[in-house]
């Protein structure tokens, strides 16, 4: 091989290298394009999947909202039913109140007996506080003060007191105690049964 062939070889080699570079560039370009296409495809797939998930989520949310609406509707129905019950109960209590009021409304002139002015409450022991006396009815002589055992749910105000305490949430025991202490009603079952219903035994 002559030395004069060297330039040709170099030139050939250079051409070959150019061709290789061009080929490599094309390949790289093709690879990048393919990668970009793949990436676009992945993005498209991801977007499509996201849209599907979104649509599913919306559908699920709509379904849940519909279910919730149904539940709320049910709750409203229940509450309405309870409100009707409460109203009936209130009407029953109102009737009891009116009955109680009628029991202690003035039925005539007060007792002809001269009324003694009691001492001030703070000047005496709590145990000595004045006790209730029945208001005498018209044309009926004032009865002698009843003994504790004779007192009953007819005592003025007793039934209203019991009703009001029941409405305000007092227990049967609390009302019975108040009737014992304030009205000397030892057996309050009758009045309590009338207001609260018979005690479960």
């Amino acid at each position: 091989m002559s030395r004069g062939g060297k330039p040709t070889d170099i030139s050939k080699r250079q051409d070959t290298q150019k061709a290789l570079r061009a080929d490599t560039a094309e390949r790289l370009e093709a690879i990048v394009e393919a990668a970009e296409r793949a990436a676009e495809s992945v993005i498209d797939d991801a977007e499509a999947q996201a849209r599907r998930y979104l649509a599913q989520a919306r559908a699920e949310a709509d379904r849940m909202a519909a279910d919730r609406g149904g539940e709320l509707g049910g709750m409203i129905e229940t509450l309405l039913g309870q409100a009707v019950s409460l109203r009936r109960e209130a009407e029953r209590l109102q009737a009891t109140l009116e009955e109680a009021k009628a029991r202690f409304e003035p039925r005539g002139a007060p007792s002809a007996e001269p009324r003694q002015r009691p001492e001030l409450a703070e000047e005496r022991e709590p145990e000595e506080a004045p006790r209730l006396r029945a208001v005498p009815t018209e044309d009926v002589p004032a009865p002698a003060p009843a003994t504790p055992s004779e007192r009953s749910s007819d005592a003025p105000g007793a039934r209203l007191l019991a009703t009001q305490m029941a409405v305000s949430g007092s227990s049967r025991e609390e009302i019975a105690e108040r009737l014992r202490n304030g009205f000397e009603i030892e057996d309050a079952d009758a009045i309590l049964d009338a207001i609260l219903g018979p005690e479960e035994r």
């Binding site: 009324r115 002015r117 001030l120 209730l132 105000g157 007092s170 227990s171």
Partner: protein, 403 residues
Amino acid sequence: MTDATREIGYEQARALEERYLMRTYKRAPVDFVRGEGALLWDAEGKRYLDFLTGISVCSVGHCHPDVVQAVHEQSQRLMHVSNLFYTEPMARLAERLAESSLGGRVFFSNSGTEANECAIKIARKHAHRRGIAEPEIVSFESDFHGRTYGALAATPGLATNEALGPMLPGFRAVPRNDAAALGEAVGENTAAVLIEPIQGESGVFPITDEALLAARQACDEAGALLIFDEIQTGVGRTGSLWAYEQTPVRPDVITSAKALGGGYPIGACITGPAAAEVLEPGDHGSTFAGGPVATAAAIAVLDVVGDPVLLRHVRELGAYLCEKLEALDGVAETRGRGLMVGVGLEEGMDAAAVGADLLERGLVVNAPRPDTLRLLPPLVIDSDHVDLAVGLIEESLLGFPSR
């Protein structure tokens, strides 16, 4: 913190008060800067157990989160438009108050004394309709109904202050719990009997069932209205939402304030059907009353206090408190109902001095009369708070021997 709420300390506050405030109060030497539940803190950081609650105002405890939230939310939305327009919290609160009590109508005010002014107007107009030219209102001696002129005239202990005269005419008083005197005082000119079911300011004295029944009967016979001042007793204080619920009578009108706003000023006059239609346009009014923030606060308070479990707790804890107090040396008696408690001290003991000593020990109470401490703790306390308070009272009483 804005400039409006910055702290200046006790000494500066006292100096400013002395220079600029009218001398209508003799204040205890404490500058409270914070409250939470049953506790208060002064400017020096000292902690106090509050068994007075601003005279039964903060019944749900200081800065109850529900009340704070209601005030915060409403004050960011709408604070005031006047009574020339509808506002929702006012309408909702009126329904709550009427339906939880007498079932009639509500007039809102900014305070208890104003609520009583409304009740007095109702009573007088109701009487005029019945042909009474000079209507009269009957109260008990030692009742306290307020300091505006109508309420003042119905407060016998204050109405004798001639320097403030002349007083509004048409008021008379009978001795407390004197059923016979009450019956005799109520006649054809009587517009109303206006009483506290449990007298608060005079030292916590419950009115007896007999006197209440006599009042109801006398009013029914005369056609007069029975008005209960529930400004201190109402809103759960006695263990029911209204004190009348634990009495054998049902009044025609009740007045409320103090605890109703949980610390926010508001009052209300609430009628039953008999008095619901008495006042008409032009008869009464108020620029601020029934404002959205105050009424929102009150709704939050009723949500807390209207709970039957809490009310039962108040009754039970009140009984526990009285039982423990009555076991102490120096305590002669306890009076009241629920967590409205008057502690009668033995003869010779100075309740004001005991109260001042308790304040130093970290318990806030007051002495409405020389022989009585008044306890009005938050309704949300528990037995531990009671034990702590009773322990402090016991320690204090040891330093004040009776005669």
